[in-house]
């Protein structure tokens, strides 16, 4: 695929016609500047988006965000909506880390006042929030409690004292997807999930202490409790081994299901089942268990982080701004050809971005729109946006989830040494707590796209608008 094969709609919107490949059912719509699109064409992400357009019952277009990069089967930074009545659900289009997502908390202490304690804060957060390879969570659950986590999500944390009502209200879907069924989940997934609730994991998962560097929308920032110069805390994690196992189980099972339903796809990782079939319904119920597990996991981690923060800065608090998913399948109502249609929106490396007035938003965000959390790479800025009406018509109410990878992990490790990176970050005033220096190098800022360019594309396409920029002060990685 070459740039000349892609139709330019505007400076930030491009389209690949559905007749470009024989298997495509809909076009591919890309939200990117020309420079970012050229970057995306360097790996297989656009080809993978075209393959996703083969999913049966897919509607309107496969949407591609500016932070897109090559995944496996479905690109990271992709959105696809399928008709609930006669479309399919594809586990690979949601990802193995079901409901991997981000939470943002706003502090009421200024950077100036907190500065002498930041190193101590980083160390204590690292101690309180278990992270790293094979590390268990802060609590171990029996099967009865684990099933309740599947059914109640963050509600379980509220019941056990790990959450406030405000935390629940300011979490996507109030931290619980209805329709979860623990009987749809394998015993192996339960075995893997039992010890991991309240753990961060490794790889690109992190906790980051930030300062609110700039506010662009005073009203929206005020509603979120974000004040220029004050601390904020971001947390990135997902459903851990529990979600990985559920996706693994269904990708394997669906290899046979596609044969049963005579579904032909250009890649086996896109395997799917009709949403109305027993197999499709079973996956949806299991996927919702993992989504609820992840909501609960981030809530427990946030509770631990809040405890550390409030112990260190006595009299101050961390308020939940929002918690959202960026690997998930959701049943939503969208307007397709002026008709309200029930669809399954697959967001893989993409977040929900609902505008002001949407019925799914909590009261405090009704006037401003849904907060969107777009973390940058370690050492660079992160962004808080709010969803705009155009996202509903252009991208099924979706937006970017991060900066997006540019370099492979091997390339990153060849170019960057973990110890040098840590020293460089320290020189820039960023404390780093990392389980592995090699892992740190893999996640270096140079391995990612420019987050500011991603945000320019998102604003340019009209999907969301800027509220605030956050600058990192301390990073905790597994």
């Amino acid at each position: 695929m070459e740039l000349r094969d892609i139709k330019k709609i505007s400076d930030y919107e491009w389209e690949i016609a559905p007749n470009t490949r024989p298997f495509m059912n809909v076009p591919v719509r890309i939200f990117a500047s020309e420079a970012m699109l050229r970057n995306a064409l360097k790996d297989r992400s656009i080809e993978q988006a075209m393959q996703a357009a083969a999913l049966p019952g897919i509607l309107q277009a496969v949407c591609v965000m500016p932070d897109v990069h090559q995944g496996y089967g479905f690109p990271i930074g992709g959105v696809a909506a399928t008709d609930f009545a006669d479309g399919v659900i594809s586990p690979g289009a949601i990802g193995y880390d079901i409901n991997c997502g981000v939470r943002l908390l706003a502090g009421d202490i200024s950077h100036v006042d907190a500065k002498p304690y930041l190193h101590e804060l980083a160390i204590k957060l690292n101690q309180a929030c278990p992270s790293g390879v094979g590390v268990s969570g802060s609590i171990k659950l029996g099967s009865k409690d684990l099933k309740q986590v599947c059914l109640q999500g963050s509600g379980w944390a509220l019941m056990k004292g790990f959450a406030s009502r405000m935390d629940i209200q300011t979490t996507e879907d109030q931290g619980c997807l209805e329709g979860a069924d623990p009987f749809a989940v394998s015993s192996r997934a339960f075995e893997r999930g039992a010890s991991q609730v309240g753990s961060l994991g490794a790889g690109n998962h992190f906790i980051e202490v930030d300062v609110v560097e700039q506010v662009y929308d005073e009203e929206a920032a005020g509603a979120m409790g974000l004040v220029k110069g004050n601390l904020a805390l971001q947390l990135h994690s997902g459903s851990r081994g529990f979600g990985h196992q559920i996706c693994t189980d269904f990708v394997k099972e669906f290899q046979k299901v596609v044969q049963k339903y005579h579904i032909h796809l250009p890649d086996r990782e896109l395997v799917c089942a009709p949403l109305q079939s027993s197999e499709g319904r079973k996956y949806l119920a299991a996927m919702r268990c993992a989504a609820n597990y992840a909501f609960c996991n981030r809530q427990i981690l946030a509770s631990s982080a809040r405890q550390v923060f409030e112990d260190l800065f006595v009299g101050h608090y961390l308020r939940n701004v929002y918690d959202l998913a960026h690997n998930i399948g959701k049943i939503e109502l969208h307007s397709i050809a002026d008709k309200k249609t029930k669809v399954c929106v697959h967001r893989k490396g993409a977040t929900r971005a609902f505008p002001a007035g949407h019925s799914e938003l909590p009261e405090i965000y009704q006037k401003i729109g849904q907060p969107i959390l777009v973390p940058g790479s370690m050492g660079t800025r992160s962004w808080v946006l709010v969803g705009l009406q155009a996202s509903m018509t252009k991208s099924f109410g979706s937006c970017s989830h991060g900066a997006g990878r540019l370099l492979s992990r091997t390339q990153a490790k060849k170019m960057i040494r973990g110890d040098q990176l840590r020293r460089q970050l320290m020189e820039n005033g960023i404390y780093v707590q990392a389980g592995s220096l090699a892992g740190l190098a893999e996640e270096a800022p140079q391995a990612y796209k420019d987050i500011d360019e991603v945000i320019t594309c998102i604003e340019g396409a009209g999907l969301a608008k800027k509220v605030a920029a956050l600058a990192p002060l301390a990073v905790i990685k597994g």
């Binding site: 690979g92 390879v133 893997r192 790889g203 046979k256 890649d267």
Partner: protein, 138 residues
């Protein structure tokens, strides 16, 4: 046969976000063993010295590629339980795999693998034996 290339083994190939490995071997059982070694290499596992137990796996799937994914997923599950295969005796047929494995302890592990994917997965046979590319979700 390519004089530059060893008889069997694995090599990492570029992938933006995840890890892609090319695996090659003279026969199918060796291809499965090499894929297992690649998996352990990515995980960065340090193996113990003593054999602790034997495990027998019997897997049935619709084709060879599904067998390979299932086999590696089983090893991934054991690695999660801190157990690593150090000796393999494998029989591969069209729709089934029987593997006798001696297991030792995983003393440490540097990386997590979320899953073994089917993306672009195809086992090829050529004059030198078998080869395939496996993408691991990291």
């Amino acid at each position: 046969m390519d004089a530059e290339r060893p008889f069997s083994g694995f090599v990492e190939v570029p992938h933006t976000a995840d890890i892609a490995i090319d695996v090659f071997a003279a026969n199918l059982p060796q291809l499965f063993v090499q894929a297992a070694q690649a998996l352990y290499h990515i995980l960065g596992i340090r193996k113990g010295t003593e054999v602790q137990r034997k495990v027998h796996l019997h897997l049935t799937e619709i084709d060879l590629e599904s067998l390979l994914v299932s086999f590696l997923e089983e090893l991934l599950f054991y690695a999660d339980q801190k157990a690593v295969a150090c000796e393999f005796k494998i029989l591969v047929e069209k729709n089934s795999v029987d593997a006798e494995m001696k297991m030792t302890a995983s003393l440490s592990q540097k990386r997590e693998i979320k899953a073994v994917t089917y993306h672009d997965l195809l086992i090829h046979q050529n004059a030198n034996g078998y080869q395939t590319r496996i993408i691991f979700d990291i």
